[in-house]
């Protein structure tokens, strides 16, 4: 069923990771992704893998959830690896057929690139698995707030994200119903050339868009009647606080960064 597709599924639990402030997690995740591009050696990757494994353990999220995000990207990972294997030259040549050859450098590089993608995805998944959508959007809003001085509508962006997340399951359900209704009128979404299949989508997309606009209209009215007036003077029930657990995480991350940079310089 369509509704089984969820984006960044949250896994409820009570680990230290879940209790971290969303802003801290967001910044650390971003810097972590940057750090992945600083690693050159296998020792570096080994270090990251161990660090990540420890964090996963601490998060109390079953490993299979991490892997879920990888499943849909298996193709890209393999594709990237293959490209690198055949294009990067250096070291000993291992295999040659026709004009293509595989070298040791090629293999090493391919493995490192694949690892980079995998680690990136698992790290990002950790963020969405341990942070509720609300806390995520609150965190993003808070981090963007300084930019509102130069005209970035931090609150509006966050509100749009919240509403989008709220309505995804509802709209997916509705899409399902529309598909069934049109199928009951003989619609066929499986046969025909690409052009036919695209045209067959019109009876689904038009009602869906109309419905989405109608919802938006009604929702806007409901929000207004609850005194919504943009971000001005709004308070929040769940206040974000940076606590000792966050300081610990920050210190540990700084240590991690130091090691990465050190390895980059030395190795």
């Amino acid at each position: 069923m369509i509704t089984d597709i969820t984006i960044g599924q949250y896994f409820p639990s009570d680990s230290p990771l879940h209790r971290l402030d969303a802003r801290v997690k967001l910044v650390i995740t971003l810097l972590y992704i940057v750090s992945l591009f600083l690693i050159k050696s296998f020792i570096g990757y080994a270090f990251v893998i161990i660090a990540l494994a420890i964090v996963i353990k601490v998060s109390k999220v079953p490993f299979k959830f991490m892997v879920k995000g990888l499943k849909s990207l298996v193709f890209i990972i393999i594709f990237t690896a293959l490209i690198n294997v055949f294009t990067v030259k250096g070291g000993e040549t291992l295999v040659t057929f026709w004009k293509l050859s595989i070298t040791t450098e090629g293999v090493f590089f391919a493995i490192k690139m694949a690892l980079r993608i995998i680690l990136l995805i698992i790290g990002s998944s950790l963020l969405t698995l341990t942070t509720t959508p609300i806390k995520l959007t609150d965190g993003i809003e808070a981090l963007l707030k300084p930019l509102s001085k130069i005209g970035v509508p931090a609150h509006d962006i966050a509100m749009m994200m919240t509403i989008a997340l709220r309505f995804i399951p509802t709209l997916l359900d509705e899409t399902d119903k529309i598909i069934k209704a049109q199928q009951a009128r003989g619609a066929d979404f499986d046969t025909g050339r690409l052009r036919d299949k695209a045209r067959a989508l019109v009876p689904i997309l038009v009602p869906l868009f109309i419905s989405a606009f109608r919802r938006a209209d009604e929702l806007a009215m409901a929000m207004e009647s609850r005194c919504y007036n943009g971000g001005a003077n709004r308070t929040r029930m769940n206040v974000m606080k940076v606590t000792s657990i966050d300081y610990t995480a920050i210190i540990l991350f700084v240590v991690y960064c130091a090691v990465i940079i050190a390895m980059r310089i030395i190795l």
Binding site: E174, K177, I178, K180, A181, Q182, Q183, A184, R185, G186, A187, D188, V202, P203, V206, P207, I210, S211
Partner: protein, 284 residues
Amino acid sequence: MSIEIKHLTHIYNPGTPFEHKALDDINLKIEDNEFICIIGHTGSGKSTLIQHLNALLVPESGEVLLNGENIYADRSKLKSVRQRVGLVFQYPEHQLFEMTVYKDVAYGPGNLGLPQEEIDSRVKNALETVGLDESVYDKSPFELSGGQRRRAAIAGVLAMEPEVLILDEPTAGLDPKGRDEILDSIKLMHEKRKIIVILVSHSMEDVAKLADRIIVLNDGKVALTGTPREVFSKVNELEKIGLAAPQITYVLSELAAKGYDVRTDIYTVAEATEELYKFLKQVK
């Protein structure tokens, strides 16, 4: 045309923590030209059942037979099943998408690959049956009123010229006038086209007026079945399931409980008026 449902069982999400048996060994037979009403709570299995009748859902076990043929026997014939068994979902006006009412109603027969004249005649016929005249043909569906849009959507399914028409709560969200208009159209269509009509509803008063036979579902099983007279007089059983008989039925059944000699199989205002008048005019 006849429909036979044999030992139909449907389980959602089998083998997961969300497993749910929506239909449990359903057995039913529906004869030609019958007007059937299905009643039951949300969650009793009504929507699941009707989606099996036009092969939108596949059962865990059991069969659905149209004129003796299993609808799943030939997968390539599913489109034909969906033409013969028309299904109108709740809030059908949400499926409208074309630029004009005419084109939208023509979508269904168009999918069947029929020649243009045939499509034209079917569209006109369908719109006439639901009581929409030529003045709306070229209008955008979104210019019509709520009740009109719903009738246009129903016409869209009627244009498939099904032998069975299933309607899931066709009066949902309509006011009394809109409700009467839709039900009158459906009744008229049933008389004109002589097809099987299956109506799913929450409203006992609506069901009482239209049904030849009522099927009461509870917890995925058939709890009661019979003519309206038979079903509504079983007030206690209906209440145990959490359903109610039409309001006026309770008046007669309470009078009978007090020992008065009145019929208890009454469920419309007209019959109640007659019966109570007779009752009060009797000299004891």
